[in-house]
Symmetry: none
Subunit: 305 residues, 2 copies
DNA sequence: AAAATACTATACATAATCTATACAAAATTG
DNA sequence: CAATTTTGTATAGATTATGTATAGTATTTT
């Protein structure tokens, strides 16, 4: 980590200017010490150098260079930062507090910046487990207790979904691993757990067809056949929905003998015996065990006709 | 994005003249920064160059050149070479064909490249209207008729959404303009039209809270109050969903007398009389008219209190 | 606890724009 | 040909963009 003076020397940009750029364009958002002094990362320095280079090379004004920078945001995820606003830190609780405020205020630009910051500081899966999921749960609770409206809840989950999809797509697939499919059965709208688990599978290199919440069971078997799905992951919170899922799995099992199932969610606390083998808790350690014991043996997905 | 000075240098047209042409003939309508400075795109520059060329080459007066320009707006503006063999070119049909292939093949890298190409050749809003929207509609149809799977459809719309979000975030906001909110009511999942309209509003410098498809109406009024929304945009395809929206708007209107509504989508072909004033077609020209007649008078968002 | 660094906020200065209006030469019209 | 319209430029006065400076306080280092 570098002090602002070091950065100024390294980039040859006056200290005042660096601060002005941060304040005016949020080019970088360095971490802060407990006392509020800026701590720059290598990435921050790269960004500043890049900006300066663009300005000199192409005769760009700072605003134009910034536009270029933000325009290529898809490539580097860890770029943009957030405003200094309320000197809160960058621990998960602080970020969570901040993100909750921004999401309920429907401020997507700020929320994205906060999430960017979190991703730049931590492992992405960690951010989902310890920042995004908790915030969404909190928002869900706030909604149920009438503190916020559906629309706020909706807005927040859309925004987080966006990030989920991004990772889901970007993470590399290892073709020799089997194909998984993830869904919540019809009636179940709560898919945070499913998202986390899918992300886990994707990180492991599994290709995952994410069908999301409220998926009708009808026609799923066709999809399984068509795409040669080997693993079916489902999540259910609402116990009454279990019965339908149970019979569907029963059918499925006879139709596709090799198929592996993983089940999760609150509904499985009191799990019917026929599904007990498939149920897993929300503990990532248990997921690892599942991966080793169930997925790896399936390796080398059958690719021949 | 280019400043007016850059454009003047690149096109060799005096700054004053560029502004005069804009004012008098709306040859180009550059974006504006938050402070009102003009931001020109590549396409804008091409247009200006084309105009100038026409005037010199054919001894045309500016008004005639403009007439030519608007006349051929439907065709391929890309005069940059007539390699229009078919199949591998960069006309909208060709790009669309290519993008469709890439999206259904789940090839995100290639698809992004194709989209980048389109953006580099054309005005960004045009790309959404004439490339991305048509391709997504086609994919939607293919899905409904069983030609492709949910996963493919999902993948494609996600990828396009990503681009939409990017523009939505990057386009400058003009603080003196009112705040808009955009949604499709619960049950409506088809939000391409809403996206296009939101993009239009964003280009005009309006700040837009995008709630997206399937938004529950409950609690929306609270948000309108909280964020001081002045414009509510909604899109509906499915006629049965209109009734609920109609009553909601009724309530809303009494609660927030100053609120402006804009409605769009297939469902309004047969529009209930109470909403007829608010309904707009999908024609961008009509949007422009709406903007001038409805939004501009709302200018100077109330910031006090 | 000094000395060295940094922080925030405010203030300037200069360049680049903005809008609105004015004006003159060229083209068009009656 | 005189009157009008079209078109390119110019100017005034206000605003925005951007780099830099300073004051007063706080933090970190030695």
């Amino acid at each position: 980590m570098y002090s602002i003076k070091k950065v100024s020397e390294l980039t040859d940009i006056p200290i005042v200017t660096i601060r002005a750029w941060e304040k005016r364009y949020q080019i970088v958002t360095p971490l802060r010490t407990g006392g509020g002094h800026r701590l720059y990362s290598e990435t921050d320095i790269e960004t500043l150098k890049w900006i300066k280079d663009q300005m000199e090379r192409n005769q760009l004004k700072i605003s134009e260079a910034v536009f270029q920078l933000k325009n290529k945001s898809g490539e580097a995820l860890a770029d943009t930062g957030s405003q200094s606003e309320s000197g809160s830190g960058s621990s998960y609780p602080d970020l969570g507090e901040r993100l909750y405020r921004e999401l309920t205020a429907l401020d997507s630009a700020q929320a994205h910046r906060t999430i960017d910051l979190a991703f730049s500081l931590n492992d992405f899966e960690d951010v989902f487990h310890r920042l995004l999921a908790p915030v969404l749960y909190r928002i869900g609770d706030a909604w149920e207790s009438g503190l916020i409206t559906v629309a706020q809840e909706h807005f927040a989950s859309q925004l987080v979904m966006e990030r989920f999809n991004q990772f889901h797509r970007i993470l590399p697939v290892q073709a020799h691993l089997p194909l998984a499919m993830a869904f919540c059965p019809e009636g179940e709208h709560h898919h945070m757990g499913l998202m986390l688990f899918s992300l886990f599978m994707r990180r492991k290199g599994l290709d995952v067809v994410y069908l999301g919440p409220n998926t009708p069971l009808a026609g799923l078997t066709r999809l399984i056949k068509m795409r040669r799905v080997s693993i079916v992951a489902a999540s259910v919170s609402d116990p009454p929905l279990l019965a339908a899922l149970e019979t569907w799995i029963e059918t499925c099992r006879t139709e596709h003998p090799g198929l592996a199932f993983v089940l999760g969610g609150q509904a499985f606390r009191d799990c019917p015996p026929s599904l007990a083998d498939y149920a897993r808790s929300g503990d990532p350690a248990e997921w690892e065990a599942w991966f080793r014991s169930t997925v790896l043996p399936l390796r080398y997905r059958d690719l021949g006709m």
